[in-house]
């Protein structure tokens, strides 16, 4: 069975390593914070200016001066710190953040990503996404394998305006875990009960299948 959004978040959480500073994008990536594996200590950075982000506040304890990059009210954990936007992106550009997880509308087999604009339809802006993808060494995309029209989001080349080029390293979708290699999307794992053929049918870019592809083991 294909994964739901929580399943995608749980699988990505397995990529967290002890000591990582992590930036989570809006949407599915935000859910990753709920599934940190036991014994792993990570800190979440939000580019509007906080490290050490905690859970949502209890009802009635919201603070208008304490939000994340999705403009949601949050809390902080022990050791948290606030900083300005220039310092925040110094952390990001300077590669002090070890993992970036973000959503995408399209990813190409070269690792290009498009997630900020649909010409003539949706023009909201890139926010911090371009800075994040241009600098991070470790970028995981969390997304559904196909769009609402059933079309593949894993393409030979992106049709939408790019956010960054040759930057995505790994993709976790509702159907599979894939690594971006020089030859294309290398299939690493299938979602439970999902066949290699189903992944192939939902992938327009080059899909590399080597040997038996294991099921995810979340």
């Amino acid at each position: 069975m294909a994964l739901d959004k929580i399943g995608i978040a749980k699988r990505i959480a397995l990529e967290l390593k002890d000591g990582y500073y992590v930036n989570l994008g809006i949407g599915i990536p935000t859910l990753v914070a709920n599934y940190i594996p036991e014994g792993i200590n990570v800190e979440f950075q939000s580019e509007n200016g906080v490290l050490g982000m905690g859970a949502f506040p209890f009802d009635g304890e919201e603070d208008a001066d304490l939000i994340n990059a999705g403009k949601q009210t949050i809390t902080t954990l022990d050791g948290a710190v606030f900083f300005d936007s220039a310092n925040s992106f110094a952390m990001i550009r300077g590669k002090h953040v070890q993992l970036t997880v973000l959503g995408a509308m399209e990813v190409s087999e070269q690792g290009d990503i498009a997630n900020w604009k649909i010409p003539g339809k949706m023009v909201k802006g890139m926010g911090g996404a371009m800075d994040l993808v241009a600098s991070a060494d470790n970028i995981i995309v969390a997304m559904m394998h196909t769009n609402k029209a059933g079309e593949s989001k894993l393409l030979k080349s992106c049709s939408l305006p790019l956010t960054g080029v040759k930057c995505v390293k790994k993709i976790v979708t509702n159907l599979a875990v894939l690594e971006v290699t020089n030859e294309g999307f290398k299939l690493l794992e299938r979602a439970p009960g999902v066949s290699v053929e189903e992944v192939q049918n939902a992938t327009l870019g080059e899909l590399i299948i080597e040997g038996d592809i294991p099921e995810m083991n979340p």
């Binding site: 936007s85 925040s88 023009v123 960054g164």
Partner: protein, 233 residues
């Protein structure tokens, strides 16, 4: 001590004119200069270029200036959450320059720090890079981004003193410190103003040298854009 305190909002925004370029601090509705925005909305000036990470919501923040068609051009990184903004942009009434958030922050910082331009990897290979110089450093392509300056910068802090020194609260800091640096005239509104000498000099975020006017703000709404909570079990 150089005295920066002004007592009225009219005095705080004195000198603003149509067709000027303004910077306005804040991220979403967090840390925006509410009092100054309201005064600018009432001032009737127009043709403004506004540099601000976001554009407010329909009836709050910069949305107030958009409603009255006072803004000619917005320079921002993210402008969702505002239907009137989208309408003006798609109809061509409003010019919009969208730039990566980190580049926006650094361009403001550079403007205040005497750095005319800098190279950044952000936006390389995208439409943001169109027309910009590309140069390789350490084998990686970077694009040249120029500094931003403004006729006025309007910032919001939690606490300030009569010498213009500022302390921000929580994530309301965001773009305010860099914009304070980059304004020819920087106006700071604060929730609490205290006499110079009361703030710990080691705890000040924005030194008063960057601030020309400081005013005790009033009637802060501090609206929350996305109220997310959990319930106690």
């Amino acid at each position: 001590m150089i005295k920066k305190e002004v007592k009225s909002i009219d005095e705080a925004i004195k000198g603003v004119q149509s067709n000027m370029t303004f910077m306005l601090g804040g991220f979403g509705l967090c840390g925006i200069p509410e009092n100054c925005i309201e005064a600018l909305s009432n001032s009737g000036i127009n043709g403004l270029t506004c540099i601000s990470n976001n554009a407010g919501v329909d009836n709050f923040g910069l949305g107030l200036l958009l409603q009255k068609r006072q803004i000619k051009k917005m320079i921002s990184s993210y402008v969702g959450e505002n239907a009137e903004f989208e309408r003006q942009m798609l109809s061509g009434e409003l010019e919009v320059d969208l730039i990566p958030q980190g580049s926006l922050a650094e361009r403001c910082r550079a403007g205040g720090a005497g750095i005319p331009a800098f190279y950044t990897p952000a936006g390389y290979g995208t439409e943001v890079a169109e027309g910009k110089e590309v140069r390789e450093f350490n084998g990686q392509p970077h694009i040249l981004e120029s500094a931003l300056e403004a006729d006025f910068a309007f910032v919001k802090a939690w606490k300030g003193d009569t010498a213009g020194n500022l302390i921000y609260k929580g994530t309301a800091r965001n773009f305010n410190p860099m914009m304070a640096m980059a304004g020819k005239i920087t106006v700071a509104e604060v929730e609490h103003i205290v006499p110079a000498g009361e703030l710990d000099p080691a705890s000040i975020h924005t030194p008063g040298i960057f601030v020309q006017r400081i005013i005790q703000g009033s009637n802060y709404e501090k609206r929350i854009e996305q109220r997310t909570v959990r319930t106690k079990d």
